[in-house]
């Protein structure tokens, strides 16, 4: 599982907004062009990003193993045709190129995940999206991060209790609805307590945020992001 790791690389020091802009630029350029030349250029750029963020390649590929398997399998599905000649190589190659660019996009976003702490992402969201929608998104995302492990533990408890009572030998519909009802009632009880706690602490639309500033090293990254977005329209 891939997550943030503290480090002192160039990518770690960048403003989260320029990293987000770069990912959008990279994705736009990759989605617009799947020619061999574009793919070679994007592969080089992706390699630079991974090296700059010191992303461990083997662990990342392992974390994405299912996605990699699907992306490798899809060109085969595309190549198979009903009726002679049964295998359409050209169709498969077109699809393989398309799959490969998705793989590159996933790797670049792995570099972001590894190099950016949650509170930076939250501050970036809240400063980019103005007003109440930005507040809802920023606070909401922070709450999702906070409660994700708690609710995972809740679900684990529910499943262990079901297994202890031989609940895992029942039919799939009954198992799914039992887990969902218990999971949802527990979650909503927690939500109602959380709402009370938020109100007790004067939950407001205008709290104070940590400062974010663009530094000199953000300039080339932002420029490159703009160039990539432009390249998508060429």
């Amino acid at each position: 599982m891939l997550s943030y790791e503290p480090d002192d690389t160039v990518v770690h020091r960048l403003d989260p907004r320029s990293k987000l802009a770069f990912q959008i630029g990279f994705a736009a350029a990759a989605l617009a062009h799947a020619t061999p030349r574009a793919l070679i250029a994007l592969t080089g750029l992706c390699a630079v990003v991974l090296a700059a963020a010191r992303v461990p390649i083997r662990e990342t590929l392992y974390a994405y193993r299912l996605a990699v398997a699907v992306l490798a399998f899809v060109p085969l599905v595309a190549a198979v045709t009903f009726g002679p000649p049964w295998i359409d190589v050209d169709d498969g190659i077109v699809s393989a190129r398309a799959s490969y660019r998705v793989f590159l996009i996933l790797l670049v976003s792995a570099a972001y995940v590894r190099s950016t702490p949650v509170r930076h992402s939250r501050a970036a969201i809240q400063r980019t999206v103005p007003g109440k929608p930005g507040q809802i998104l920023g606070v909401g995302v922070a709450l999702v991060f906070r409660f994700f492990p708690v609710l995972q533990a809740d679900l684990r408890t529910i499943r262990e209790a079901m297994a202890a009572r031989l609940g895992d030998e029942r039919g799939p519909v009954e198992r799914a609805s039992t887990i969902a009802i218990l999971g949802l009632t527990r979650t909503f009880e927690r939500a109602d307590r959380l709402a009370l706690a938020l109100q007790a602490r004067c939950f407001a639309w205008n709290p104070t945020m940590p400062p974010l500033t663009f530094s000199r090293s953000d300039v080339p990254v932002l420029g490159l992001s703009g160039a990539l977005v432009l390249a998508a329209f060429l």
Binding site: M1, S109, Y112, L143
Partner: protein
């Protein structure tokens, strides 16, 4: 020393409660990503994520249901490993499974609109069964239409290939999830926030 003065704009009671539910449901959708139930007659197991997307529309309604899914998508884009296969990052949103995620957003809103028919929430346990069934079927069509459609465009597949890779394996599981969602709302154990 300068004193910074600003008045505090407190969030309304109903909004805080709906917001807390939406945020925690988003976390629950993420926590359900690794939970899978094997099916005896299909190689693809049931995952509970889509079931919670149905419930987001059914219980939270046409406004807070999509907000919940939006929080789920944003938290995943910010790097929390809550998408299918425990992945996270913006790349997943434009990757081969990205269409399904955007489908969740529209499906939750559509199910909410069809069942509640407005922003005042009704109790889905008291809605007639056909309404709930139509809403769930429409939501599922949106999720798989967008999911397989985007996959076909992105990976240069034709419609039939996209159907084989992105829809057909999941049909039995989806039918069971609809049955489970109906059983849950009809049990009457989960009441929406009525203001």
């Amino acid at each position: 020393m300068d004193t910074h003065r600003e008045s505090v704009e407190v969030v309304d009671d109903a909004v805080v409660r709906s917001f807390a539910r939406a945020a925690l449901l988003a976390a629950l959708i993420g926590a359900a990503a690794p939970v899978s139930i094997p099916l005896p007659f299909s190689p693809v197991p049931i995952t509970l994520q889509v079931l919670f997307v149905f419930l987001a529309g059914l219980v939270l309604g046409p406004v807070w249901g999509p907000i919940s899914i939006l929080l789920y998508i944003t938290a995943g884009a910010a790097g929390l490993p809550i998408f299918a296969e425990m992945r996270g990052g913006i790349g997943v949103l434009v990757g081969h499974t990205g269409g399904y995620l955007w489908g969740y957003l529209i499906a939750a809103g559509l199910i909410g609109l069809l069942v509640h028919r407005g922003t005042d929430l009704r109790d889905p346990a008291e809605e007639p069964l056909p309404v709930v069934v139509v809403a769930l079927v429409a939501g599922t069509i949106v999720i798989y239409g967008l999911g397989a459609g985007y996959m076909a465009w992105l990976l240069e597949l034709d419609a039939w290939e996209a159907f084989l890779a992105g829809v057909a394996p999941f049909i039995p599981g989806e039918l069971l999830k609809m049955a489970a969602a109906i059983a849950i709302v009809k049990s009457g154990r989960i009441a929406p926030i009525q203001s």
